[in-house]
């Protein structure tokens, strides 16, 4: 038993913190009408990919850094804490899908490009936000060369900026994975008015778009990728809880009412103490899930679902408390409180609700008991 971060982990976290503290600036978003493109979405990317973050868990054989998921959350904790806008989420998702579904040749072709700044996205959910593996939202048909895809997907993170998109599509009654070039004729990408303006989320429509099938596609690809995406969202959420806690604590020490700092009132103190407890709890679950995924532990899926359900739900609570503690100023567009409030809510829906992850938890336990 060793529930402590190594010096290497702490070092990685510190250097990531230094980078985001210097480079992330959310102030352009604090004017109505702004979107990710105003807040360094592209500028940050060149540096992030240079740091190797998008390939951090990609095996060295494919040009990645071959590091663990614990290393990954050191970084995601920092991008999540600062809401750093960049296509990191989409690229991680696309790269994991490639890692799980691609053949050796395909992985060797695509994954090494990550270090040159390749941007990817993964299109899984349909327009209802369902990840149902039997829905024929996109259908693949054999063509002269490769396949043609037809249909629509939504809630595709970072699709508009991606160089290529991995798309799940129906072929012979099962969902396989295909890769589509962003410039391919017939591909239409629409940026959605996603409420979390620190993230780019899109709908894609495919009208007979040329696609290459990922040759190792199978029904375990999505659960494998999903567990990793749970980890990413949970790590963002846990770090976000800490961020809004710290902001609210600072504010509670400064803001005076009735002759005392508002942090002297128990109604405020107790809310903050509760969030402090939740913050510890979420961080512990995230680290456990990262360890379990790194070790391929038999409870890895369980750990990932627990972390995502808890952290995202508690993030919603904490960001709401945060606005309450700030008072009316916290309800303005010019403060960043709402950015966290919105990130929290969007994180709790993007891959299905916390309740749906809890359903996964129960199913895994029922399966273990049987």
């Amino acid at each position: 038993m060793d529930f402590a971060l190594s010096n290497d982990h702490v070092f990685l976290q510190d250097s990531a913190a230094k980078f985001v503290n210097e480079q992330v600036d959310l102030s352009p978003l604090l004017r109505p009408g702004a979107d990710v493109s105003h807040a360094g979405y592209d500028r940050l990317w060149s540096q992030i990919s240079e740091l190797g973050w998008s390939a951090i868990t990609v095996p060295e054989a494919y040009g990645g850094l071959g590091m663990s998921y614990i290393d990954l959350i050191m970084i995601i904790g920092e991008t999540g804490r600062t809401l750093a806008p960049s296509p990191l989420f989409g690229t991680l998702a696309g790269a994991w899908a490639m890692q799980a579904a691609g053949s050796d040749r395909q992985k060797s072709e695509w994954l090494p490009k990550l270090s040159d700044g390749l941007k990817l996205a993964l299109a899984m959910a349909n327009e209802n936000g369902s990840y149902d593996s039997t829905a024929p939202d996109v259908v693949a048909e054999p063509a002269k060369e490769g396949f043609k895809l037809k249909g629509a997907k939504s809630f595709v993170v970072d699709a508009a900026s991606a160089d290529a998109i991995v798309v799940s599509a129906m072929l012979d009654g099962r969902k396989d994975f295909f890769i589509v070039n962003s410039g391919a004729p017939g591909l239409d990408v629409e940026i959605l008015e996603w409420r979390d303006i620190t993230r780019q989320v899109c709908k894609i429509t495919l009208s007979d778009v040329n696609a290459e099938r990922l040759e190792e596609s199978n029904d375990q690809v999505w659960p494998w990728v999903r567990d990793r995406l749970y980890l990413v969202l949970a790590a963002e959420s846990a770090a976000g809880i800490k961020a809004v806690l710290d902001d609210a604590v600072d504010y509670a020490k400064e803001r005076i009412a009735f002759g005392r700092p508002i942090g002297a009132f128990q109604a405020i103190k107790h809310q903050l103490a509760n969030i402090a407890g939740v913050s510890e709890a979420a961080a512990a679950l995230v680290q456990y899930a990262a360890w379990a995924l790194s070790e391929n532990d038999q409870r890895a899926s369980l750990a990932a679902a627990m972390a995502q359900s808890y952290a995202s739900e508690q993030y919603k609570q904490a960001t709401h408390r945060n606005i309450q503690i700030f008072g009316a100023i916290g309800f303005t567009w010019e403060m960043k409180n709402h950015l966290y409030y919105k990130r929290a809510r969007c994180n709790a829906e993007l891959l299905g609700s916390p309740a749906s992850q809890r359903e996964q938890v129960v199913r895994i336990l029922e399966h273990e008991a049987a």
Binding site: M1, F3, S6, K253, S309, L365
Partner: protein, 400 residues
């Protein structure tokens, strides 16, 4: 980072198992001879076990069907005994620890009084020095185990001229001393007596029963409460003891009640919370192995675990429907093992309102976390700086 616990083939475990094979049905006294009733204490009392070794020893004790020593003699082995290692004299250790470690002398904690428990610093029991004795007078209440305890850990006021927290001292008293009367109090479960009130009427306490120095009582008491809270972070239903959310989930699955949608989602929530407490316990273990002091984890852990236990007990009860409102009809199965006091959901359910009262109420704990961890302003206490005897006058006046 590594969340694996020592396995079955761990050489440390095999050694412990060998001893149990050679000594079937051991007494606690025999376990104490091995240093296994408080393994983390240094020799000769314990074996200076790190957190993993302690975990192994606990596991093996449970396997023999025995209750864990520190649930039988919680105050002696968990909360207070360790203070003797830091503050006690060698003579005190020799006098008090062997009986505690063998679980032959049960200890109790004489802190709370009728006039207040949260505001412990305002306690009124006095200990007046007379020659080589102190004379103790006062009234303690909510004292768990006082009816069968041999040793009482007493906080009393030795100097009423000093401000409330500064005039307190700690004593280890013989519960059979003349002048001590123990009256059981029936708690709301109506089950076997949990706590008592204790009258101290001119009790003669030898001067060498003072632990540490005069005036150190508050400091030592706070350390003891902190130690106690770390222990309570565990995922059991009441103060870390008894069945956990894993057991609840097993029971709900085994009985098919898990398919009730009104139970299902909440059971998952409780399960996740239980796993969090398990992880926080592991973090405590790691901190101890790495020699880091128990800080935030203790208070935060209890802050999370007390309401968790209440939610879990409520769910266990609700899953049984109206039948659960009859005494003792537990239908949810529990694994066959020695749980100590909390051996069924029914008792845990009717007991668990105490979760957020004992060892610091939830409100007081939230204050501790807000003030000590987050650095928020302290609650005002108009009595904190005054000589204690003046504060009793003010409160008396306020009450008029």
């Amino acid at each position: 980072m590594d969340f694996n616990l020592p396995g079955e083939d761990d050489p440390r475990r095999i050694k412990v198992q060998q001893w149990f094979e050679n000594n079937p049905n051991p007494t606690y006294a025999q376990l104490a001879e091995q240093g296994w009733t408080a393994p983390n204490w240094p020799a000769p009392w314990g074996v200076g076990a790190d957190a993993e070794m302690q975990w192994i020893i606990d596991q093996e004790i449970l396997r023999t069907g025995l209750e864990l020593p520190y649930t039988i003699n919680a105050i002696g082995l968990n909360q207070c005994g360790q203070s003797l290692l830091t503050y006690g004299t060698e003579a005190q250790r020799k006098k008090f620890l062997p009986g505690a470690l063998a679980c032959e002398e049960i200890w109790c904690m004489l802190f709370s009084e009728p006039s207040g428990g949260s505001d412990l610093g305002a306690l009124r029991t006095t200990a007046r020095r007379e020659g080589d004795h102190y004379i103790v007078n006062g009234h303690k209440i909510w004292t768990s185990a006082a009816d069968h305890a041999a040793v009482g850990v007493l906080v009393a006021r030795t100097d009423p001229e000093k401000p409330k927290h500064k005039g307190l001292s700690m004593f280890l008293i013989d519960m059979n001393s003349p002048g001590i009367t123990v009256n059981p109090i029936v708690d709301m479960t109506g089950e076997k007596n949990e706590y008592n009130e204790v009258f101290l009427d001119n009790v003669k306490v030898p001067a060498d029963a003072l632990l540490g120095r005069e005036g150190e009582g508050w400091k030592i008491a706070m350390e003891q409460l902190q130690t106690e809270r770390v222990g309570m972070t565990k995922p059991g239903v009441v103060w870390g003891m008894g069945p956990t959310a894993r057991d609840l989930m097993d029971g709900l699955i085994a009985t098919g009640r898990i398919s009730d949608p009104l139970i299902r989602d909440e059971a998952a929530k409780a399960y996740v919370e239980g796993e969090i407490l398990r992880l926080l316990t592991y973090r405590n273990m790691t901190n101890r192995i790495n020699g880091k002091p128990a800080g935030f984890e203790g208070s935060a852990g209890k802050m999370l675990s007390s309401p968790h236990g209440q939610r879990m007990a409520d769910l266990a009860k609700r899953s049984q429907g109206v039948a659960g409102m009859i005494r003792d009809p537990d239908v949810l199965p529990l694994p066959d093992k020695k749980w100590g006091m909390f051996s069924d959901w029914d008792y845990a359910y009717w007991f668990c309102p105490a979760n957020t009262l004992g060892v610091g109420t939830q409100e007081v704990l939230l204050n501790v976390v807000a003030e000590r961890v987050l650095g928020l302003p302290r609650d005002p206490d108009p009595t904190a700086k005054l000589p204690f005897f003046e504060t009793t006058k003010t409160t008396a006046r306020a009450a008029e």
